[in-house]
Amino acid sequence: MAKVKGDIIIDIEKCKGCELCAAACPQHSLELSRKLNSKGYHYIVKIEDNCTGCTNCALVCPDSIIKVFRRTEKKKEQVATITNVTGDITVTMTS
């Protein structure tokens, strides 16, 4: 299973197809669609699943239509610590 780190949501109805985000994407995962939106522009779409959530596309987007998500690594919390009677073996449980 591919490990997906980040994702973006593009408001395609407001996209003007300037391709600045595609030029700024270090993963080359954005491309112009063959289809048109209701204003007659070819809109941008994500074609690869290798997004890292670096926010470069959203930073250069002049129409601020890109919303970026990044998977946050959950820190493992300590749940319990078990020690035997003599105290030489300690087991730590994490969530």
Partner: protein, 268 residues
């Protein structure tokens, strides 16, 4: 595991990312849902968003008064929830001065293009900077008159083709490109003067920092802050947005070098 099950797990995995906890970038609340009215790829949109972001971050939306320009950005009020005045051409800095003197607790910024600030309103610019009014001036420099159809501006580069100089700007006839930011950086009333661009993600981050500093210095009543943003104008440069950013990097930025021109001295 069956192929089908694997596929479903992938789908679930992907969908689970798009939750509110994982948002790392979204447009600020100070921008409305109205689409930007600019041409595709115009740097004005990024500049608007950066101002809106800084105002949202500092939480000064109800204390900020902007002065919108007469150029392309005249509809700045439709795309943002900020209060903006729209004076006549080149009267922005008088109006901004007036607002700031009457309402000294408000944050006042003016947003002007190169025709406005460096051609028609040069006198106002220099005298406002010389008086050291406690405002923030944001100067959008794309080297051309954008809204009126791509005529030569004072900031057009030597040899640059515009509708009024179809064979390239002749410096013998039309003069040399004006570096107004360098000019006003000499004035003692100016507290902070910098030049940034919005063509690459890193430059956008620096531009945001510069605008943030401008608002912060205004809060501390330090004096005038001047932020020049070098942008592109794909429609009037007659290029695609990606080409125009490349042209900007190769031709505009060597002449208009990015960086701080005047930074506050550290007080001991």
């Amino acid at each position: 595991m069956l192929e089908e099950e694997k596929h479903y797990e992938d789908v679930i995995e992907q969908e689970s990312i798009c939750i509110s906890d994982n948002v790392v970038y979204d447009k600020p609340e100070t921008l409305t849902s109205t689409p930007m009215h600019y041409c595709p790829g115009c740097g004005h949109g990024v500049a608007h968003r950066l101002i809106a972001e800084v105002i949202a971050e500092l939480d000064i939306q109800d204390k900020t008064i902007g002065v919108a320009p007469v150029g392309c950005a005249v509809f700045a009020t439709t795309t943002s929830t900020l209060t903006c005045l729209k004076p006549h051409t080149a009267e922005h800095l008088q109006v901004a001065t007036g607002i700031k003197r009457v309402l000294p607790d408000k944050y006042v910024f003016s947003y002007q293009g190169d025709g406005d600030l460096a051609a028609i309103g040069t006198g106002e610019t220099i005298h406002t900077c010389n008086r050291g009014e406690n405002i923030l001036i944001i100067f959008i420099n794309n080297g051309i008159y954008g809204m009126t159809g791509g005529q030569m501006a004072p900031t057009s580069l030597a040899g640059m083709k515009t509708t009024t100089t179809p064979f390239g700007r002749d410096v013998g006839e039309a003069g040399y490109p004006l570096k107004i930011t360098e000019l006003i950086a000499q004035l003692p009333g100016v507290y902070y003067c910098t030049r940034v661009a919005v063509n690459t993600p890193n430059n956008v981050r620096r531009a945001k920092k510069a605008i943030y500093n401008g608002f912060k210095y205004q809060e501390l009543k330090k004096g005038l802050s001047f932020v020049e943003i070098v942008t592109n104008c794909p429609s009037n440069w007659k290029m695609t947005p990606v080409e125009s950013n490349k042209w900007l990097e190769e031709n505009m930025l060597p002449f208009y070098q990015l960086g701080d021109l005047k930074v506050p001295q550290k007080e001991n």
